[in-house]
């Protein structure tokens, strides 16, 4: 087992979760590599998380993506031991989560982690404010104090005036705001979000994504964000891990995933995403060919191509790309066209 990264907020090593009659026997075995159906038939087990290792830096938004059934939810639940992992180790904020006793674990859950759920998981018999104050309540915070804190987060997520409502009186988007507020109420160091927006319709989903970006900027949390929506992953993730059949097949920044997919599975995944929306000028920058103009306007390498293209067209000549003032090369309108054309086929 490799060492944990002590700098990381979350550090996961060789994590396994097997459902079935004899889970331990599957760890590191050849059988674990079998396709799900065959494994089920042969051993009666499902390997939901297979030998997963990764680190998440403080304040990073780490996105986990994959098809339905690829083990995303299981993975995220293993991190806080809502599901007990079969093998491996998890360190969060320097503490070995799988070794702590239940009361310590409860304390961590009450103060350091929080989670947002796909189906909200609100308590239908409690008012919004009492939903949000729940974690404080179970931690023994006095009513006045916890309501004061709850009111702050209600305002933070834009639900001012709805504190006395009941969940069933709110729309789906508002309910998930309650879910977010509840997760923020304890001012956690780490947030886990399991497909928080997939039950919402597209317009509201976009609002909520913007909301998360805003909140992340304002409160700066370490986040593990699960989704199966690629554009959401691209929009939010500092880094993205792609899972298949329980294992992480590739883990990288959005651009690198699009630019250099590790295998056909990932490439297939990335096919639908317009590259110009994800890639930055950095990936197109090249040395000027002889005779090309090199006096175009200068743009930063981190500019997304889609945003750069009007400027390139307007300029009528290649633009210069620089990273922190250091020139990387030029990009012509032809380069951009080629990239877009490449997507079409």
């Amino acid at each position: 087992m490799s060492e944990h990264n002590s700098e990381a907020a979350i550090s996961v090593r060789d994590l396994w979760k097997v459902f079935g009659p004899k889970p331990e026997e599957l760890i590191n075995s050849e059988d674990a590599k079998l396709p799900r159906a065959e494994l089920m038939k042969k051993t009666g087990n499902t390997a939901a998380v297979v030998d997963v290792s990764f680190d998440v830096a403080p304040n990073e938004v780490f996105v986990v993506m994959g098809l339905s059934g690829s083990g995303k939810s299981t993975l995220v639940r293993c991190l806080t031991r809502l599901i007990e992992p079969t093998a491996g180790s998890v360190e969060i904020l320097g503490e070995d989560i799988l070794k702590v006793n239940t009361s310590r674990l409860r304390h961590l859950r009450r103060t350091k982690f929080s989670m947002v759920f796909q189906h909200f998981g609100l308590l239908p018999h409690r008012k919004v404010i009492d939903n949000i104050a729940y974690a404080l309540e179970v931690n023994g915070v006095k009513k006045e104090a916890r309501h004061k804190r709850a009111q702050e987060v209600i305002d933070l997520v834009g639900l001012t005036g709805y504190g006395q409502s009941y969940p069933e009186q709110l729309s789906g988007g508002m309910q998930q705001r309650v879910g977010l507020a509840r997760a923020l109420a304890v001012d956690p160091a780490v947030m886990f979000l399991d497909e928080p927006f997939s039950a919402l319709d597209p317009l509201i989903r976009r609002d909520m994504q913007a909301e998360v970006i805003r909140l992340h900027k304002e409160v700066g949390k370490t986040m593990v964000f699960i989704t199966h929506d690629l554009s959401e992953a691209m929009k939010l993730g500092d880094r993205i891990a792609i899972m298949r059949d329980g294992a992480i097949v590739q883990m990288d920044t959005p651009e690198n995933l699009v630019a250099k997919p590790a295998d056909a599975y990932v490439a297939d995944f990335m096919r639908d995403i317009p590259k110009s929306h994800v890639l930055t000028l950095k990936s197109l920058a090249r040395a000027p060919k002889p005779g090309e103009a090199t006096d175009g306007p200068e743009l930063d390498a981190s500019t997304v191509i889609r945003d750069a293209s009007p400027i390139i067209i307007q300029a009528g000549r290649p633009i210069r790309v620089a990273s922190n003032g250091k020139p990387l090369g030029i990009v012509s309108s032809e380069d951009v066209l080629k990239l877009i054309a490449g997507e079409e086929q």
Partner: protein, 653 residues
């Protein structure tokens, strides 16, 4: 594409199974004709099989130890005494005179006040009015004291049942291991006919109000456990998971999330428990429960339809009262939003006023004779009883030829041939035939289980009586299904019919079968058909409801598509609605079988013979007790066979 292929394949298998089934039946009938009358294992009623003798000896040994055996001294007898003092306490509160006085602690007017207050506090004015009216109705019928006894018995049993059942149910809702442990008992409790409980319990707890309460508890505790566990398990998992993820302890999750969310289901469970306990308290008159059951069973033994009807009517009034007042607390709309502050305030005032009325009425009932003892001159029991007797006499004499004709038709055309097949052929042939049918319908596991249980029945020495009972169960279920499907389709398709008929079905479900056993006896005489008819009446409500709900749940689009294709109503019913509600039909058949079994054995009271008669025989003739207990066991085994075959059959198709 592939689903179409699969559908076709299953269809072919089903058709094959049908042919196979027919073939087995033909082979069975021909073999049975050849070997008719041989190896039928018939045992005269007054004789015991070796097994019966052994059971009888065990029973005698248990009886002999009643004052010596430590199990009795330290467990059964003290338990009985505890329950007894509780029952007597509740009874002296409302039903029987406090010693040295002529009235209970609270007289009739006080009881009215208390009931009004409790119902109002848990629901609304409409239900309060209804409850009070129904309660007054029992008084007008001249049944006040018996009614209070029945209510006292029911309440005591319910309180103990909830006290034991709720914690167990919650535990079974939280722990898989506990549920796995309890499940066989819960399943069994759904199959065992009420009549079967009584004799073994009397052996340990003897006879009287306490024994009846214990029997009622044993009947209703599984219901509490089942519904509570289901309520907790059926909860949406995400709030529970959210609660754990926020660091709640198990106890916090239970108290702050699971219980509040499951509250409605649990109240529903309380309602079901109350109803079950009430219906059992009536039957428990057989082992000494005071109250309305006594007159009903008495009326059965001396054939007084009128008196039985009066008591039966009082049971129905109490049943509706208890049902409506407990189910009123179950909110129909699934909302957690409480009413506004103003409403709460208004209600609080009303509730307080009602409480004041209750206190006043208690005071009056303790100090004034008119409010203490139900006025003697307000008593219609004689009138109602006589009117009923006149009506029933008239109906039975005028309908005699009709009912007898129908009875004879069914008896000669179905009942006798089937009985010949099941009971007059060699036992091993019948066992083999049932096993093969189980194999075709349910698969290998059920077939093996059936053979084992049927052999166990053979071993009890009551094979032939079991086959007599089985015959009646099958015939009654067939007729029930025919009627139930017809009516069910009708009310499933027509809202008007539903509104008109459903109240009768609801009322029919709360009526203890004993109540209509006597009119049936008048219509059909002391025959097996009387048992069958009673079984049919008892099971029709549940079967009809299941069929109707099944028909209603067929997607509208399917029906519309069929109509758009130009189907006639008949075609819509037979080609779309019935096939699409197959699951409900199978479930209805399964429930029908179990309900019918429960009542057909009561037919032992009216000349239907079979296992039910032996149970009765065993409880009154001490030398036949072994046989009676064995008959109870045989009913249980038969019930499991029927249930398993029907259930696996339903699951496979």
């Amino acid at each position: 594409m592939s689903t179409a292929v699969v559908n076709k394949a299953t269809k072919i298998i089903q058709i094959r199974r049908l042919y196979l089934f027919l073939f087995v039946v033909i082979a069975w009938v021909s073999l049975a004709t050849i070997f008719r009358g041989r190896a039928t294992l018939a045992l005269p009623v007054s004789e015991n099989s070796p097994f019966n003798d052994r059971v009888g000896a065990v029973a005698a040994a248990i009886r002999a130890g009643r004052f010596e055996n430590p199990a009795f001294i330290y467990f059964f007898n003290p338990l009985r005494e505890i329950i007894d003092s509780a029952v007597q306490l509740v009874r002296t509160l409302i039903a029987i005179p406090v010693s040295g006085s002529i009235i209970p602690v609270v007289g009739w007017f006080g009881v009215i006040g208390i009931v009004a207050f409790i119902v109002y506090a848990s629901s609304n004015f409409k239900f309060t009015f209804l409850a009070v009216a129904l309660l007054l109705g029992t008084g007008v019928l001249g049944m006040w004291t018996s009614t209070m006894d029945t209510i006292a018995m029911t309440l005591t049993a319910v309180i103990f049942s909830l006290g034991i059942g709720l914690p167990l149910g919650i535990w079974a809702g939280l722990s898989d291991r506990v549920l796995t442990f309890l499940r066989p008992f819960l399943d069994l409790a759904q199959i065992v006919p009420t009549l079967v409980y009584l004799a073994p319990l009397a052996l340990f707890f003897l006879i009287g109000a306490a024994s009846a309460t214990i029997a009622t508890m044993i009947y209703s505790i599984p219901i509490v456990i089942r519904i509570t566990a289901l309520g907790i398990r059926g909860l949406n998992n995400s709030p529970v998971e959210a609660s754990i993820s926020m660091g709640s302890t198990k106890r916090q999750t239970l108290a702050k999330v699971q219980l509040p969310m499951a509250k409605q289901t649990i109240i529903l469970g309380v309602n079901q428990t109350v109803m079950a306990a009430l219906s059992f308290v009536v039957i428990a008159a057989l082992i000494g429960a005071p109250g309305l059951g006594g007159p009903i069973i008495n009326a059965l033994t001396v054939r007084n339809v009128g008196d039985g009807f009066v008591a039966g009517l009082a049971v129905v009034l109490v049943a509706i009262m208890l049902d409506r007042s407990t189910s009123a607390a179950v909110k129909t709309k699934k909302s957690f939003v409480p009413p506004s502050a103003d409403e709460i305030k208004r209600r609080r005032l009303n509730v307080a006023a009602m409480g004041g009325f209750a206190v006043l009425s208690i005071y009056l009932s303790r100090n004034f004779l008119w409010a203490a003892v139900w006025p003697e001159n307000i008593n219609t029991s004689k009138i109602v009883s006589n009117a009923t007797n006149t009506f029933v006499d008239y109906a039975t004499t005028t309908l005699y030829f009709l009912t007898i004709g129908f009875r004879e038709l069914i008896t000669i055309a179905i009942l006798n041939p089937l009985e010949t097949l099941l009971a007059q052929s060699p036992w091993f042939l019948t066992v083999a035939a049932i096993a093969i049918i189980a194999l075709i319908i349910g698969g290998r596991g059920v077939a093996i289980l059936s053979v084992i249980l049927l052999l166990a029945i053979v071993y009890t020495g009551l094979w032939r009586d079991t086959m007599l009972t089985l015959t009646q169960v099958i015939v009654a279920t067939l007729l029930t299904m025919i009627i139930g499907i017809t009516v069910g389709v009708w009310i499933g398709r027509s809202q008007k019919a539903d509104t008109a008929i459903r109240p009768f079905l609801d009322a029919g479900q709360t009526l203890p079968a004993f109540v209509y056993l006597i009119p049936m006896l008048g219509l059909f005489g002391p025959t097996r058909f009387t048992a069958i008819a009673t079984g049919i009446v008892y099971s029709i409500p549940v079967v009809t409801k299941l069929v109707a709900d099944g028909i209603k749940n067929v997607p509208k689009s399917m029906v519309e598509a069929a109509i758009a294709n130009g189907s006639t109503s008949w075609q819509v019913i037979t080609k779309v609605q019935l096939p699409a509600s197959k699951r409900s039909l199978l479930l209805a058949a399964n429930q029908g079988l179990i309900f019918v079994l429960a009542v057909v054995v009561i037919g032992g009271f009216v000349g239907a013979g079979g296992l039910g008669y032996l149970v009765l025989l065993g409880s009154s003739k001490p030398e036949m007790q072994g046989k009676g207990l064995s008959a109870g066991l045989a009913i249980l085994l038969l019930g499991i066979v029927i249930d398993r075959i029907a259930q696996t059959g339903a699951r496979r198709k």
